[in-house]
């Protein structure tokens, strides 16, 4: 197979180039009625031509925005391409966004035409129609349920395509002309990022942004035109746009749309992607499924699994990184490949994966190493919507689980005094749509983008992300203190559900810890420890001992890191109640509100920084039915061992 990517500086030009040079090759597949349906490159070009003609006949022209709402469906991909062909800008939406959250985007982008997947999405638009007077046309893909709709705004995708067919007859070369007018600096797409405060911001990305980034990744990984990719993540997400859209058109590989969100695992197994992208939560769900199924397996299989997974943990990742491993271990691992790793990779649909990426949030080292030890080349990447996810990527053969790797080619990174990462790259966004103030805040006069993340480079030049810059503080002696980094490390233990670290302006680091009721409950049951409920369980000395072991493991880890060895956790308490969004302690997306917690649990924090070995705490609590009550409890404060920086390796 050829590896040459098509040339062209816009997506429609790339599409036409593929259709011209290799039109009979498959471009996109969708599983429908149990069968994979295929469109070739020339088939896609035809669909796009008719749809673009249809849109043009409805008055859609250069510079206008068009909403695309739904799951991954080929027709929605055609809609994006048709929009771009006419010089318009597609705005994909998260398909599960509730209607009121869509209003702002429709108003902000002055959207007149929406192409939606089905009745569910159309209903949402009718709900917000009174607030979005500009919205004139809604076209739907799946006709189910629309039979009794009598709305003048509504028409089917088919009817639009048919209109296009007629219009294209009268304007035979309109598409080539329109595509010819496009250039690389044109806006390719607008993606809205959900801020934690205020309205979402429309990130404007140019064709150059996405195409240069795609080429950067392709070059780095040696991607080819015969890759198989599963298109299953939301179309409004930058990762999906980069890996299943921009790169699809640049490289000319094949994307596959699953039948439905529930069938992704089966469909993935059928397709066997060679190039794969998954956020940590997807990888975690897969691992949980494997673990549960193994628990149900017979004893011989269970033994084989445990034994060979032990071997894999020991040498798998090192073999993948090409490090020296003894011949005996290699043999042992190869045997495991026959009995366990191969069949398991096959079950996961990962037999053919050459490169897999994960990004979006911090991934637990156990989870990460699980996949790598099976021989799957899973790597972390780092980036934002604003940078087209092109900042850092872990290099093949040198993956360090706690870093995101060195900067990619063409990316310049500087670290500010407070540790904030600022950067310039070819993928850097143009602006926030109609929001100059926010644009100026994020991107300074010289074009440096302020990520808001804090991090530093380790000895190998790999970037390590530690926290949001605004949360990073300093201990009294000036040692760097990154609470989120410590909390994440703690939360990677199954026994710990939430953690809050304190230390800014204090002599040492301490932590409040929430146990995970299910994990610790199971653990207690297996040991015959009787308990009456959460509060009782959390106060058990054995549980404290369990948590102390976790904390000390984290400390041992930290001691190995020259920058962070000073922020080891010295004292901790195990809280008597779960931190809860209903009590205002967490945000709705389960992020800890550390300032509020510090105020609410002031006596606990006081005890952590005194020599008391217990404290009393009274906390308001909101029950499920809305009533509030007060819980009073005595909490023990325990010490954890801290390690001197050099002794760390043996202890760990």
């Amino acid at each position: 197979m050829a590896t040459a990517a098509a040339s062209g500086d816009t997506f429609p030009k790339l599409l036409l180039a593929h259709a011209r040079t290799r039109g009979d090759q498959p471009a996109i597949r969708e599983k429908d009625l149990g069968i994979w349906q295929t469109w070739t490159w020339s088939g896609v070009a035809t669909e796009v031509r008719l749809l673009a003609a249809g849109l043009a006949s409805r008055g859609f022209t250069r510079g206008m925005h068009l909403a695309v709402i739904g799951d991954n469906r080929p027709r929605l991909y055609f809609a994006q391409l048709a929009t771009q062909s006419l010089g318009g800008i597609p705005v994909p939406f998260y398909q599960d966004a509730p209607a009121p959250e869509m209003v702002y985007v429709f108003q902000n982008a002055e959207i007149e035409i929406a192409i939606v997947e089905d009745q569910e999405q159309a209903d949402k638009l009718f709900e917000i129609l009174p607030q979005c007077p500009k919205l004139r046309h809604i076209f739907y893909d799946d006709p189910r349920g629309f039979r009794h709709y009598d709305r003048q705004e509504l028409a089917s995708y088919e009817s639009l395509r048919a209109e296009g067919e007629a219009w294209a007859r009268d304007h035979p070369d309109f598409l080539d002309k329109a595509v010819e007018q496009g250039k690389g600096s044109d806006t390719a797409i607008m993606l809205y990022t959900s801020g934690t405060t205020g309205n979402p911001k429309g990130v404007v990305l140019s064709c150059d942004n996405l195409i240069l980034t795609s080429r950067g990744y392709a070059e780095l990984e040696g991607l080819r035109d015969d890759e198989e990719v599963l298109a299953y993540l939301p179309m409004a997400w930058i990762g999906q746009n980069l890996f299943s859209y921009a790169q699809w058109l640049v490289m000319g590989f094949r994307i596959n749309c699953p039948e439905s969100a529930e069938t992704v695992i089966t469909d993935m197994r059928e397709i066997g992607p060679t190039y794969y992208f998954a956020p940590p939560r997807v990888l975690e769900a897969l691992l949980t499924q494997v673990t549960i199924r193994m628990e149900d397996a017979g004893s011989v299989k269970r033994w084989l699994y445990r034994h060979f997974m032990g071997v894999a943990r020991h040498v798998g990742a090192r073999i993948l990184d090409g490090q020296p491993v003894s011949a005996m271990d290699r043999l042992h691992y190869a045997l495991g490949g026959i009995f366990i790793y191969g069949p398991l990779r096959n079950t996961l649909g990962m037999s053919r994966i050459r490169v897999a990426y994960t990004a979006g949030e911090a991934i637990g080292p156990d989870l990460f190493v699980f996949y790598r030890s099976l021989g799957i080349n899973l790597k972390q990447i780092y980036g934002q919507t604003e940078t087209c996810v092109m900042v850092c990527v872990q290099p093949n053969g040198h993956v360090k689980p706690d870093t995101v790797g060195p900067p990619m080619k063409g990316v310049e990174i500087r670290l500010l005094d407070n540790g904030e990462i600022v950067l310039r790259s070819p993928g850097l966004f143009v602006e926030y749509h109609q929001n100059e103030e926010a644009t100026r805040e994020a991107k300074d006069a010289e074009g440096w983008y302020h990520t808001g993340d804090a991090g530093y480079f380790d000895a190998d030049g790999h970037l390590k992300i530690i926290d949001r810059a605004k949360d990073v503080g300093k201990l009294q002696d000036g040692t760097l203190f990154a609470p989120k980094y410590l909390e994440n490390k703690l939360k990677f233990f199954a026994a710990i559900k939430e953690a809050v670290a304190f230390g800014d302006g204090r002599p040492e680091v301490t932590a409040m810890i929430n146990i995970d009721m299910q994990a610790v409950g199971d653990w207690a049951e297996r040991r015959g420890i009787a308990y009456s409920g959460y509060q009782d369980l959390a106060a058990k000395p054995q549980v404290y001992e369990l948590v102390r072991e976790c904390v000390e493991k984290v400390n041992a880890d930290l001691a190995a890191d020259p920058k962070l060895s000073g922020s080891q956790i010295h004292r901790f308490v195990v809280l008597h109640k779960e931190l809860d969004a209903d009590d205002g302690e967490l945000t709705r997306t389960r992020k800890v509100r550390r300032r509020y917690i510090a105020e609410k649990y002031e006596p606990v924090v006081h005890a952590l920084y005194s020599d008391m070995d217990h404290c009393w705490v009274e906390a308001q609590m909101r029950f499920e039915d809305g009533r509030t009550g007060t819980v009073r409890a005595q909490l023990a404060v325990r010490e954890a061992k801290a390690f001197p920086p050099q002794a760390a390796r043996q202890a760990a």
């Binding site: 009625l33 069968i35 439905s260 069938t263």
Partner: protein
Amino acid sequence: MTGKGRQFGEVILKVENISLAFGGVKALTDISFDVREHEIRAIIGPNGAGKSSMLNVINGVYHPQHGRVTYRGETRHAMEPHHAAAMGIARTFQSLALFKGMSVLDNLLAGRNLMIRSNIFLQALRVGPALREEVHHRKRVEEIIDFLEIQHVRKTPVGRLPYGLQKRVDLGRALAAEPKVLLLDEPMAGMNVEEKQDMCRFILDVNDEFGTTIVLIEHDMGVVMDLSDRVAVLDYGKLIGDGTPDEVRSNQAVIDAYLGVKH
């Protein structure tokens, strides 16, 4: 989205003066009502009112001692199950009628058994007409799978599915026969609220998309009143009310029987 202002066709099914007794127990006494094409018709009543017996009379499992059943213009003293099935009456069961060890796909294909024309030998060899026919049936079944949104369990043995999904498969199995009239025996029994909502949506969609006439028995009053065009109320084997949900709701005899009466 009930049938306010909906258009119905001719009477497709009529039962007249049905009486059914098991020895001394009178299950049904002199029941008459009709079902019009395309409507959703509910039969409600307290436990032991004779609802399931009524369905069993309609599709011929029970033979009433008195009365007539008229279906699509043909009047019989009693239906026979195979007649009923051949003439386009399909039903689901309160206690499910599925092959637990077979996949969802195979269960639905089994539901098309009556429509398979090629003989067993051709089928076994999978040649010529038999293969073409199988492709056709598979396509129809896939459409039902798509319609009921059960793609993710297509190849899962039915016995491994949760109860709510099994109910949906049972509905699919009945739909596979492409019935004119669909009898649903407590389609929502044992379901949680979300599953009930899903099931309601599917019943309305079946009625709407395929134009299937639906006769259903249900306990959940809310569901019945929302879903049905007309409701027949049974109590101790007697018809005590018949009409639109609003009419039935304000019928004193129904209120007394179903919702209880003050003493």
